[in-house]
Amino acid sequence: MNGKWQLKDHEAERQLFNRRLTAAGIVVGLLFAALIAKLVNLQVQQYEYFSARADGNRLHSQYVPPARGLIFDRSGELLADNQPIFNLTVVKEQVPDMEAMLERLSGMISLTADDIEQFENRLRRNRVPYTSVPLRYVLSDEEKSRIAVNGHLLPGVAIEPQFVRRYPLADLTAHAVGYVSEINREELDRLSDEERENYGGTNHIGKSGIERTYEELLHGRVGYEIVEKNNRGQVMRRLDRTDPVAGRNITLHMDAELQIAAEEALGDFRGAVVAIDPNTGGILAMISKPGFDPNLFVTGISNKDYSVLVNDRINTPLFDRTTNPYPPGSTLKPFIGMGGLQHEFVDYDFSIQDPGYFRLPGVAYRWGDYTLRTAIGGGHGRTNLQKAIYQSCDTFFYDLGHRMGIDTMHDFLSQFGFGDNFALDISYARTGVLPSRDWKRESRGEPWYPGDTINSSIGQGYMWATPLQLATAAAIMANKGKVVQPRMLKAVDGKPVEPENNNPVPDLVVQDEDYWRYIHESMTMVVHRPYSDVFRDYGTAFEAIAMADRDMPYKMAGKSGTAQVVGISQDILSSTDIEVSDLNKDHGLFISFAPALHDAIKPQIAIAVFVENGEHGSSVAGPIAKAITDKYLLDILKLDFDVLDAEAESMNQLISQAADD
């Protein structure tokens, strides 16, 4: 036993150990108590907070976009429907390196600089974090499978099906039906908070035409769903869902068949056609040619395609010719003539001896007759209102206009919708110009000169009207003053509706109902004058229409017009390009309604045709109106004029018998 061992006191050491063990036990207890305190803090005191955090982690509310309402024509043909496509979308927050990802993607699918630029624009827009943003639309099957196979290399990238707008008639409805395209910043800013909420799941908004006018009806209400996502953003379950309310299906008065016919009738010309049913005001056809393919805009038109459209200064396909004004020319004459009768500046017996020009009293300047400017000289001879209309005698109207004065003319013409927009749901249509003293003073700061009235009285000078206004006026004329305001919308979800009318227009009442018959007759003679050997029986419309179709079963009332080209820029005028020099040619116009002067049936269609640089109203625009009328009355409505004529005949017999008795 050496000293080292002697020092050991086992009992004392055991007690020391036991004390230490007890101390350790106390520490263990204290630490467990601290742990439990922490857990109570987390699980009891902060339970609400963490519970909300946990739900926030996994629960995501997402929008379910509503299906956009379909657009039908009057016979149920689709003008706009929804077609499924597959888009490549990206959730920015889940992409570790956007540049590398885009690089990788462009190796798999076609991805242009344009696509990437537009994608970056979309990312910059105000958007909810963790939502997917489209990078490329319309993936092909091959591209889809390439993305699917490489999915693991592309975090945050997904293929999402989407319904997009498709316009089966493409160019033909580009302006009237319009198109949808991606919502831009300004449009989002324009929306109220509530509306913006409603567009949460929608990428598209109506940009023009019907799509824009009836955006509210077509869009529908957004739905919501609450989904559970894992930490990689994959949707695991759908927990709750508020179904979206699909947009309403709308039916237009437009007739697709007639729209096609109108486009064909225009042939190679640029121009516009507006056809209205005078009984309802429904717009049967409304086309501006050339159009463009609205389908291009739906998924984001490429800069290249867009610049082609914008830079085509000759065809200006984006310009809507139906709702932009041109000088109406002689098409205005029946309306001014009507004003003359109403305000008793002329009657059925009134006539002038036309020397071929007009002079204001005390003014040496001669206003020539445009109809005669290529003829040998001289005038229309003895001319009454009827002849002045069917021969389109300028001198007669110079005289009439001068005597009426611009104010009377303005007030009377405004009842036909000139200088105004009678249309109920074409708010974007321009109003043209129906000049007056006040108008000139306000807009030009100049007094009204007597010569201004002379120009206005043959639809030139300051007078501007859109093809839509001309068709409207023709319809009111056909209706004998009963105003029907033009409208596109016929029915919503199959139920006929009357579009909202913020500008109700009273009917046009004249002193003597017979005035209408008189003007109708005059206009019918434009088209149907019996062949005459009389020297200088001017006017070519009847040659081009009634004489070209001697079996024409109905009568058409019409009036041609020729409008001088105004405001073409000098560089276009001086161009040596043949096509460009055509731009200097006059515009041809024609208004018509049919069947005219029929006792058994009222007029069914009123048309305005505008042919850009067509040179002649009567010979170019007239036959176009005739072709469209034929199509509508004979092919679409399938009117049997043998039966109708017989009906009229028997009615007339009854009336004359009654008169005899």
Partner: protein, 382 residues
């Protein structure tokens, strides 16, 4: 070498031979400990099944591992604890040798070069061996010296602890190094080291730690410390784990969301949900009550461990039993505190609950030693 310790027995505090525990004693088995461990293991497998999204293969493997662990425990318990005591210096020397060998020819896994592939043996981690060899050696060393230990003994003890710990740090396995270090420190603490020394050591550590942080700490270690104080400084990066695990725990509430309904775990928001962060799954699905149940199971095992240490008949057994029990506690506490945000994130599993390999076996070796301490002494006496 005859030791006085061995001869002197406890002073009648323990009443042997009561009840029917003689069969267990002859099998060298401590039923309360075994029951506690089996309950913990079963609960662990149950939680693991949910945490792994119903991966029954994984659960079966883990169950098998536990059975192997129990077997190892029984085998270890069959040897008298003094057999281990006698061999502890040799085992320590061998362990150091293996650690050196690992540094030379070890293979790397999960960033730590701690595996040894010796021909004819399954690959294993020598650092795991040190978890029980180091306390054994210290118990052997200090038990035969007067207690409280003198300064020179403490010096040698410190060397015995730091040498293997340093070698393990060199393997880039800080977690295991900490466990080895602590298992040794527990022996020293239980041996009655003066509180004065303990506190001055603690204060020295406090003073040194800023210097460590500024000059020695690696970037990821600094990050862990910063994240501990403010997880939201990088909520999707370094702070993600702790934020998500706190959300899981907190959203579990008192009663939990129900078995298999933990959204945080099943939607993969909890990282490492099978291993280090499995407590978050438990807390989410079973709530505070579930955690308290688990703590009770642990306490049951710990109390048994303390009891075995308390009733052990010689200082070596006491020190070893106390150290094993405290090390087990240390594991449990560090993991739970880390997952709930009381401590910085250190990669330590939750014993008997987390999925894991070698450390489970090591732990059962420890419990085997406990059972050996408890059962052999009695037989010796009767």
């Amino acid at each position: 070498m005859i030791n006085q310790d061995f001869v002197r027995q406890t002073t009648g505090f323990y009443q042997p031979g009561k009840g029917g525990s003689t069969i267990w004693r002859s099998l060298h088995t401590d039923p309360p400990l075994v029951i506690g461990l089996v309950l913990l293991g079963c609960f662990g497998l149950f939680v693991l099944y949910s945490a792994s999204d119903g991966d029954s293969n994984l659960v079966r493997r883990q169950g098998l591992l536990m059975l192997v662990g129990l077997l190892v425990m029984f085998v270890v318990a069959q040897f008298n604890v003094h057999f281990y005591r006698r061999w502890s210096p040799s085992m320590y020397a061998a362990g150091l040798g293996l650690l050196g060998l690992v540094l030379a020819i070890g293979t790397e896994e999960n960033g730590a070069k701690s595996w040894l592939n010796l021909p004819g043996l399954p690959s294993f981690q020598p650092s795991e061996l040190m978890k029980f060899v180091v306390p054994m050696l210290l118990a052997w060393y200090l038990a035969s010296r007067p207690l409280p230990p003198r300064f020179k003994h403490l010096f040698w003890a410190a060397l015995m602890i730091l040498l293997p710990a340093a070698l393990i740090v060199l393997q880039n396995d800080t977690g295991t190094a900490i466990m080895v270090f602590m298992s040794g420190v527990f022996v020293v603490l239980l041996a009655g080291i003066k509180w004065r020394i303990v506190f001055s050591g603690f204060i020295a550590l406090m003073l040194v730690s800023p210097a460590w942080y500024l000059f020695l700490a690696q970037e990821h270690q600094k990050n862990r410390i910063l994240t501990f104080f403010d997880p939201y400084r990088d909520p999707t990066g370094a702070g993600y784990n702790i934020i998500q695990s706190q959300i899981a725990i907190g959203s579990g509430g008192i009663y939990g969301k129900g078995y298999g309904n933990g959204a945080q775990s099943h939607l993969d928001f909890i990282p490492e949900s099978n291993t280090d962060f499995i407590m978050a799954v438990l807390a989410e699905e079973f709530g505070l009550l579930g955690i308290l149940f688990l703590i009770c199971l642990y306490l049951f095992v710990l109390v048994r461990g303390f009891y075995i240490a308390y009733t052990a008949k010689d200082m070596f057994s006491r020190l070893l039993a106390g150290s094993i029990t405290l090390t087990f506690f240390f594991y449990v506490f560090v993991n739970m505190a880390m997952v709930s945000g009381l401590l910085p994130v250190i990669g330590l599993p939750l014993p008997l609950i987390s999925r894991g390999g070698t450390s489970v076996i090591t732990m059962f070796v420890g419990f085997g030693l406990l059972m050996s301490i408890h059962t052999h002494g009695l037989r010796n006496r009767s």
